[in-house]
């Protein structure tokens, strides 16, 4: 088995990260935005695992665990907020949230 180059792992993470960004920027449905955020966070986790694989230490995996925790908490709070938005505005369009400006 030929070893996988480190940079290839990073490239995959990078691509996923950028796709997440595109998702956050383009979607108006807040659920999609949240999902794209998960993609970004996941890409970060991947990058850590890739790093861990390069150095052969477990720190990266610990970090991945923390990201996992973070992602879970964030989704919980985020989804809570989505429910409130939907209750109040009966839509999931983030553009309704633009009453403050200037």
């Amino acid at each position: 088995m030929s070893p996988i180059p480190f940079e290839h792992g990073l490239i995959v993470a990078g691509i996923l990260f950028c796709l997440g960004i595109v998702g956050v920027l383009t979607r108006r449905n807040i659920v999609f935005v949240l999902m794209s955020l998960e993609v970004m966070l996941n890409a970060c986790g991947l990058a850590f695992i890739v790093g861990a694989a390069r150095w052969g230490n477990a720190d990266g995996q610990v970090m991945f665990l923390m990201i996992l925790t973070l992602a879970a908490a964030e989704v919980a709070v985020g989804l809570g907020l989505i429910i409130q938005i939907y209750r109040r505005f009966h839509t999931v369009d983030i553009n309704v949230l633009s009453q403050m400006k200037g």
Partner: protein, 493 residues
């Protein structure tokens, strides 16, 4: 380096442990029986003990607790600041939330949790603890920002603010994490100290593109949290939409803890020795000073003004941080520390004044609301004026000494362009601070119906008085604090 915990490690962790205990007790309390005043009291007492613990530990504690946390004079000083700020905000939020038509007790839980996050951040010298501290605080802040969202009669948009903050902050965290991942990939370690020199001989400051990009990603994320231009757009909306105590918390502890962590990261890893990072930070500073001040110029909403001005203040702070790269010695770190302290005092004061006249139903956050305050409540107006003048950096106030420090650090390092921008920015800044002062001096035409100050507000006035005293005392006789900071900062130099 100690790899695992021992019992003796628990002593330095006392501030964190005490606040955690506070949160747990308060939560249990709520579980048993909801009692507003009692929950508040538990939180306040807990934070006081945590602050006292930090103070007591400060003189001679210097220990690394597992790779994650470092408890030294520097972190304890800011632990103290964080606890006190949290405490003051807890006191201020008591009357503010008094009339909220919803569960009010959780707010204190959230304050406690956020404070734990802050404590972890100021003590962290490891990516894991940094991430956890930061996100703990963010989680709590999401809750605090959106806190009154169930009430139909709130005048603000807590929901909008919370969503904006959550989405953007999560994105920024992701960017930061990606940066951390790149740095980890480059060095194979997550501890700041080994990022600079590790067994593989790869340091952050090695100048390789991977580490540069990693630092830049990390910096972008931090810049967002500190709302440096051009990452500042979220700031005014979140400040405006959030209830005043939450805004105050975000503006003070949120900024200060992040900055302390940034200082530690920069100082330990020597990241500024990467030329492009140095120039990027310089540009961030300049952009923040100019854009922040310009944005505040004609703004009529007090919270937004303070949001914009915080952008500028973070820019000022960056000058001192940059200076630390150029000159040996601890002066610029002292400058950062003192300025942060000053910034916390005066920002808390300014938000505090707004919060004592406001309630969760009706916030008075348009500067016109303060018209004639000077003749209605002279002492409140005097405190407010002092806070604003301090923000503007006028002598007799702590803000002046802070600015003096920054100037001195900049001069020492010869950062003329940045200092020039600082002067320009300060000039613009005067305008909008004085605008508010002028509003207060105007004759009273129509009475603005402020919140009736009941017995529950007494402590808030006490907090304001303490802040005012601090402002003046530190502005006139800062020597003792300077001595303290000198020894604290020397650990970083």
């Amino acid at each position: 380096m100690t790899m695992t915990m021992t019992w003796s490690d628990l002593i330095p962790l006392l501030p964190i442990l005490l606040s955690t205990g506070t949160v747990v007790i308060a939560m249990l309390m709520i579980g048993i029986r909801r009692h507003y005043a009692l929950t508040a009291a538990i939180t306040i007492i807990g934070l006081i003990t945590a602050a006292i613990a930090a103070l007591v530990l400060m003189p001679d504690t210097n220990s690394q607790i597992t790779p994650l946390l470092i408890i030294d004079k520097f972190s304890l000083f800011f632990s103290f600041v964080v606890c006190i700020a949290g405490l003051f905000i807890a006191i201020l939020s008591f009357p503010y939330l008094y009339t909220l038509g919803d569960h009010r007790e959780e707010f204190f839980l959230l304050i406690g949790l956020a404070t734990i996050g802050g404590l972890v951040m100021v003590s962290s010298n490891h990516f894991v603890s940094l991430l956890l501290g930061l996100e703990t605080m963010s989680m709590a802040l999401y809750g605090m920002i959106a806190y009154p969202l169930h009430c139909r009669d709130v005048s603000k948009y807590p929901l909008e603010a919370a969503v904006k903050y959550l989405v953007l902050s999560a994105a920024a965290s992701a960017i930061m994490l990606f940066g951390m991942a790149l740095l980890y990939g480059h060095t194979g370690t997550l501890a700041f100290s080994s990022l600079s020199e590790n067994s593989a001989g790869l340091a952050v400051a090695s100048g390789s593109w991977l580490s540069t990009v990693g630092v830049l990603f990390l910096l972008s994320g931090i810049a967002f949290k500190l709302s440096l231009a051009p990452f500042h757009l979220w700031t005014p909306d979140v400040y405006e939409g959030a209830p005043l105590p939450a805004t105050a918390y975000l503006a003070t502890v949120g900024k200060a803890a992040m900055f302390v962590a940034l200082v530690r990261f920069i100082e330990i890893t020597d990241a500024l020795s990467i030329a492009s990072v140095l120039s990027v930070v310089g540009l961030l500073a300049m952009a923040s000073m100019l854009i922040g001040n310009l944005l505040a110029l004609l703004q009529n909403n007090l919270k937004r003004i303070l949001a914009y001005s915080s952008i500028a203040h973070m820019g000022y702070l960056l000058i001192a941080l940059i200076a630390s790269y150029f000159v040996e010695g601890s002066l610029s770190i002292e400058a950062v520390s003192f300025y942060l302290l000053a910034y916390v005092i005066m920002t808390l004061g300014a938000f505090g004044v707004a919060s004592v006249v406001s309630s969760s139903q009706k916030e008075f956050d348009v500067i016109h609301d303060y018209r004639g305050l000077f003749w209605r409540q002279p002492w409140l107006a005097a405190i407010f004026t002092a806070m604003l003048l301090s923000l503007a950096g006028i002598p007799l106030t702590v803000g002046f000494i802070g600015k003096f420090y920054v100037f001195f650090a900049g001069v020492e390092s010869g950062l003329w362009v940045l200092l020039g921008t600082l002067v320009l920015g300060s000039g613009i800044g005067l305008y909008y601070y004085l605008r508010i002062v002028f509003r207060m001096l105007m004759p009273i035409k129509e009475q603005v119906a402020y919140k009736e100050a009941g017995i529950e507000s007494l402590t808030s006035y006490g907090v304001l008085a303490i802040l005012f005293l601090l402002l003046v005392v530190l502005g006139v006789y800062p020597a003792p604090v300077m001595t303290l900071l000198e020894s604290a900062a020397s650990l970083m130099g």
